[in-house]
């Protein structure tokens, strides 16, 4: 299209469509950019290619049946979403879960965070043309996946948390497996840093690219690692501690510039902190119950159901009618791998959720994409996108 620029000069712009079928847009973002040469003058982006009706689907089932759907919000760290949802509902019940469940949730949370960050960094490298770090990042990831398989039975979408406890206790040798995974995570981190820190091509393509100021990032509602990359030390684990996060010794990683490189570096540094938390949590993992004892909330186990009348009724009721969450409305946010995952829950006191609205971090991050790419070249825009870590399931829900 031919346009007059603000100075009155004639420009011949090209409208170029990128995505959703593009390796870097991951089939979930479409960008229509007006290009002057190779510079993006303005851009419009569109999402919704993966809108699969999370909010409509959960209204149709019981509260427990909403859990598998939360898994598939951010499928790279499925269990964190479970835990975020379950935590919100537990707060509505005003219940406190047993100590062992808390510690177990912390371990699972942090291992999921490691998984998620590895995928993000790996995909960012892959999109910029680096295949080696992709392979490095996936090795420890596979090791953690093996732990998930033993622990929950599934590789990716685990549904491990339950309202009022966990699905089941750990297996024999869980601690050793996690420790071994931690060691290999640290080794992979070393390898990744060797690939990343002094890689001329990588640095040229990411340093100073896609900068955003603190104020703008906050206005866009950015949370999590991408906000911390701009220099805001905001972490719900420290600000509004849950599951005794305040007693663990870890740092909030903060970036300096808020560019594409910082967003990846913050993630790598966070993996280190997560390993620290996992090691501390493993020491606290004392034997004990993992479920609360309340047949109205947590389904009684088989043993109780077969031997005890109360247990049988509790099991029957909670499976067929669903647990009854107290009537009311509530918003609660949890620090997930990508940022604050919040659930606005409206309960009418029945066994089915009346309305669950997921506040996904990716949605806020990607909304700034068109502003970030303005004035940059086409190739830069593809270096920015993976650092925002848009996960389609969470972005469009």
């Amino acid at each position: 299209m031919i346009v007059l620029d603000p100075n009155g000069e004639k420009l011949n712009l090209m409208a170029l469509n990128v995505g959703p079928t593009h390796p870097a847009t991951h089939h979930c973002v479409r960008l229509l950019a007006a290009l002057d040469g190779e510079t993006i003058v303005a851009g419009v982006h569109e999402i919704g290619f993966m809108h699969r009706g999370f909010e409509k689907m959960v209204e149709r089932g019981t509260w427990q049946q909403a859990l598998p759907y939360t898994d598939r919000l951010n499928y790279c760290s499925a269990m964190m979403n479970n835990i975020a949802f379950v935590r919100t509902v537990e707060k509505m019940f005003d219940i406190e879960i047993p100590e062992r469940a808390k510690v177990l949730r912390v371990i699972v949370n942090e291992l999921s965070r490691i998984n998620d960050h590895f995928i993000c960094v790996a995909a960012a490298f892959q999109d910029l043309g680096g295949t080696t770090p992709f392979m490095y990042a996936f090795n420890p990831r596979e090791e953690i996946m093996l732990i998930w398989e033993k622990l929950t039975g599934a590789r990716l979408t685990n549904s491990y948390a339950r309202i009022g406890g966990m699905y089941r206790d750990t297996y024999n040798g869980f601690e050793e497996d996690v420790l071994a995974a931690c060691t290999s995570v640290e080794k992979a981190l070393k390898d990744l840093h060797a690939c990343l820190d002094r890689n001329r091509i990588f640095l040229d393509r990411t340093v100073g690219i896609g900068k955003i100021s603190k104020e703008r990032a906050i206005s866009y509602g950015w949370t999590g690692p991408v906000l911390r990359a701009t220099g805001v030390a905001s972490d719900l684990r420290k600000d509004e501690p849950y599951y005794d996060y305040e007693t663990y010794d870890f740092e909030v990683v903060v970036g300096t510039q808020g560019d594409a490189n910082d967003r990846l570096q913050v993630r790598l540094a966070e993996i280190e902190e997560s390993v620290k938390i996992v090691r501390q949590a493993l020491k606290r993992l004392a034997p004990g119950p993992i479920d609360i004892v309340d047949p109205r909330i947590r389904v009684p186990n088989h043993k109780l159901a077969y031997q005890d009348m109360e247990g049988l009724i509790g099991r029957f009721k909670s499976v067929y009618e669903g647990i009854r969450v107290p009537e009311g409305e509530f918003y609660c946010g949890t620090e997930c791998a990508n940022g604050e995952l919040g659930f606005t829950i409206v309960s009418d006191g029945s066994g089915h959720p009346y309305r669950i609205k997921a506040r996904s971090p990716s949605f806020a991050h990607v909304s700034a994409f068109a502003e970030l790419v303005e004035g940059l070249t086409m190739a830069d825009s593809m270096a920015i996108l993976p650092g925002l870590n848009m996960i389609a399931g969470e972005l469009d829900r």
Binding site: C28, M50, Y69, F138, N139, A392
Partner: protein, 211 residues
């Protein structure tokens, strides 16, 4: 020796064998990964599972250079026209794998926005179950696809295609002929009319001079 060479089947089956052998062992996938299954596909590609063992390590993100369209993840109505376009852009021969419950049947997203299985929009060769499917299941599907390709006959497909094209050409030529005939017919009638008119004019002038 001469008789052996004259048998037509000998060469056909050999060519099939060679072509299919080449095709089965270098299936280049086009990962149309939208959701969770794409992450599992990434796991399949690297390290522990290593997709390159069956010659499929070359992941192409363009439909023009790939053989297998690997739909991994939910396809929504917003995505459906794009997926169909991608399938149309792929060069023959092409195969489609529907990876995971969502691509095969819509999975547990039975909702206003999800396509209940990609076979509503494009043909599918192999379905994989699971939500998401495990890498082992994916390998199984690839082996199934390889078996399927081995059963295909290059020559048969080619003759089929030539036949179809021939039919098409015949139909088209018949159509063109009919059109030409019609045009000619109308021209003849036009000429006839013209001649008749002229004759009448001549008669009229003759009459005039007679008078």
């Amino acid at each position: 020796m001469k008789n052996e060479a004259e048998k037509p089947n000998f060469i056909t089956s050999s060519l099939d064998f060679i072509v299919n052998w080449g095709r089965t062992n270098s299936l280049w996938p086009f990962p149309y990964g939208t959701a969770c299954c794409a992450i599992e596909f990434m796991s399949t590609e690297v390290g522990r599972y290593d997709l390159s063992r069956i010659g499929s390590e070359y992941v192409r993100f363009t439909p023009r250079q790939s053989d297998v369209l690997l739909v991994s993840g939910t396809i929504t109505y917003k995505q459906a026209p794009i997926l169909q376009r991608m399938y149309e852009q792929m060069a023959e021969p092409k195969w489609v794998i529907a990876m995971g419950a969502c691509a095969s049947s819509g999975g547990f997203y039975d909702c206003y926005c999800t396509v209940p299985g990609i076979d509503h929009i494009i043909p599918v060769d192999v379905y994989i179950g699971g939500c998401p499917s495990r890498p082992e299941a994916f390998f199984d599907a690839m082996f199934d696809l390889q078996k399927k390709i081995k059963d295909e006959s290059y020559m048969k497909m080619r003759t089929q295609r030539v036949k179809e094209q021939w039919e098409l050409i015949k139909a088209k030529t018949a159509e063109a002929k009919a059109a030409a005939k019609e045009a000619a017919q109308s021209k003849i009638t036009e000429v006839k009319d013209f001649v008749v008119e002229k004759e009448q004019k001549l008669i009229k002038t003759a009459q005039f001079w007679k008078d």
